[in-house]
Symmetry: C2
Subunit: 413 residues, 2 copies
């Protein structure tokens, strides 16, 4: 008998029919003799509906204390309906809001962070034989105000609960059946990974493979919670997210992530002296423009070039900010390109293997795909290329690193 936390996202509980389906899955797990905690999101569309009303009243993107009071109702509706559906199946179930489980957060409304959970109360309900259906995404601060964790926060709730009760596994049910080597819509040979490490998952998530919320992954890594990503709608073992030491045989590269939402800004001929990066990026940060990749090469002739990427929506604004900065510095020109994509190879195996980078660059060169920027970390290599080469680049790399080939031991759940 195991203790399992299951999390179902908005699409998985998007209608009464879907909720009935989830109830079947939960009841099946319970009937196998496991103790089950279920974390659910708001029914798909509900959060947007509520945000729409709030925006209309506040006359801007809604925020603040009352937004959390409003949004937290979305998950509360789902827990009640799912608990009813379980009871209808003779499966003892009780719902719990974030407040009722004392999921304590800081007081940062709209983006709170979990500080503690009343595991005693949760365990008591489990020991009494109940499936506990918990509202994801929400908690209360020390003064009893309702807080929310920000969008996607239900994943974090699930992982935090799993950590609090020392669950054997935290199962994240979603509309994909696992983590893939890359987006199957781009590369039909993309393969579901049986396992992936937390670190790889972090890189994959932040690079646009939006299967799991990044904070949830960090949390899971910190508290050693094994996560499994599964499909609500199809049977299968999904992908287990594990710690590096668990992997029998690491592949060199686990997957290819990409991000179409970026734009590139380049500053040329600025004085190559200490503080120039701060001079240029300071005003960008002041305008709340988030910067992703930053590349500065060794300068020459007393000047240097400096390139970074921002969200495509911030491209024009970023250009103007730099223009102003250059006037103050007295030199340099700004250029850029909004039609670029970032492509990344991710894999813990890279750490101990040389030659991954050159193999990557060679593969791209053979298809005449020009690399604009390169940036590396311990377990990933990212390149910026022209947007039109995205699909070709993904396929070329998928083949070059034989990602369609199974390596290591398939996990048998």
């Amino acid at each position: 008998m195991a203790l399992i936390v299951q999390k179902y996202g908005g699409t998985s509980v998007g209608s009464i029919g879907h909720i009935e389906h989830v109830a079947e899955k939960v009841a099946t797990t319970r009937n196998q003799g496991h103790k089950v905690v279920v974390v659910v999101s708001a029914m798909s569309g509900e959060t947007n509906r509520l945000m729409g009303m709030a925006n209309e009243i506040q006359g801007q993107i809604a925020h603040g204390r009352e937004l959390d009071v409003l949004l937290s109702t979305g998950e509360q509706v789902t827990i009640a309906l799912l608990a009813m559906a379980l009871q209808r199946r003779e499966c003892a179930a009780v719902s719990s809001t974030g407040a009722q489980l004392d999921i304590r957060t800081d007081n940062k409304f709209n983006k709170a962070r979990i500080k503690s959970i009343d595991a005693v109360r949760l365990k008591r309900s489990l020991d009494a034989g109940y499936v506990v259906v918990v509202a994801g995404f929400q908690g209360i601060d020390s003064e009893g105000n309702i807080t929310t964790l920000g969008r996607g926060g239900s994943d974090t709730t699930a992982v935090a609960l799993a950590a609090a009760v020392k669950a054997d596994e935290c199962q994240i049910y979603t509309d994909v059946d696992g983590v893939y080597t890359t987006d199957p819509r781009v590369e039909p040979n993309a393969r579901r990974l049986a396992r992936i490490t937390f670190e790889e998952m972090l890189e994959m998530a932040s690079l646009g493979s939006k299967v799991l919320q990044i904070r949830a992954v960090e949390f899971a890594g910190k508290y050693d919670v094994p996560i499994r990503v599964l499909s609500t709608f199809a049977e299968g073992p999904g992908t287990l997210i594990t710690f590096e030491e668990d992997s029998m045989e690491d592949p060199l590269v686990s997957g290819i992530a990409f991000n179409r939402d970026e734009a590139q800004l380049t500053v040329k001929g600025v004085p190559d002296q200490p503080g120039v990066a701060a001079h240029i990026l300071g005003p960008i940060a002041d305008e709340n423009i988030e910067v992703d990749m930053i590349v500065q090469n060794v300068g020459s002739d007393g000047t240097t070039d400096f390139t970074f990427t921002v969200h495509r929506n911030d491209y024009t604004k970023g250009m103007k900010v730099i223009d102003n900065t250059l006037k103050n510095i007295g030199g340099g020109q700004v250029g850029g390109d909004p039609n670029i994509v970032k492509l990344s190879l991710v894999g813990v195996g890279m750490r101990s293997h040389a030659g991954i980078a050159s193999r990557m660059f060679t593969a791209l060169a053979q298809e005449k795909i020009n690399i604009r920027m390169i940036s590396t970390s311990e377990i990933k290599i990212s390149v910026v290329i022209e947007e039109k080469y995205l699909e070709l680049g993904v396929r070329v790399l998928h083949e070059a690193f034989e990602l369609d080939q199974e390596i290591g031991v398939e996990d048998t759940q």
Copy 2:
């Protein structure tokens, strides 16, 4: 400076536009220097939407713990939106769920009763200058489970809060501008009453003038809370519900109530012996059929007749139940009529004035309206007549008791 509790029902907050309108009214009251607690219902349609989903899952009229978790979200949405709309008007406001204000109830889910309220917390927020926007209809039991007070319970919440903080007035905003002598759709000369006593209001409410929830009126009477019924959409003083001793000059009759939803069941020729009423009504109660009027006249020849009214939806079922009962008793026949209405004169003045009944019966007789049943209490006289005479009966009595004439002192707010 007064302390005022205002309650706005579902129609009053039925859209974003309506919520903005309510915010204007609340802000105006606040700006006049008053301390304000606002109690709101779910936006109109929302409770039905949620009930619909619950019924679909439970496969019957939904009930139980989880229904309250579900339904309580309706009011929670409204408090958040109204607090936002107030803040937008530079009116400091904070929302509060039933749980946050520790509105403690018993543990009868779906129809809980309020036991206590954390007035200290409420007063602290008021003293800090906030308008406190409270979710009506909901509370928590001693174990922290969410409970609801049953439909219309927001009135009760408002009165209970007013009692807890010793408010100067509890204003119930609705879509009518006060309590009328009778339904203006039936009698165009119906007049808004400046005042009505709690006892009269109780009789009016239970007889079908559905302005205020009956439990709220009982509560108000018990705790001496002055209630004023007002329109959300039209300016005016409304109707003040007071204690009898406050009235300067009681009219004999305050109003005429009626109920079209009843049906009459008659049992004839049953043995006139002790226990016969219980024999007949016991099985009716066992089938959850609610009985309103009960009339039994003095018998003759060792048998007696026995008549009572039930909700029209229960007419056929009630008939069958009695048929069975009579077989067991071994005698009597059952008859009935689903096309009847109950018409009632209500007024505290009746207590000290004879002749009201005969004036009523005479007025009806002059129009050849036959009276089927008569039942009286201290402050009302009810008759059952054929449904087709309803409108005529109301108009005749309205004129006979000069209800279109103002009596007593008009309240000037």
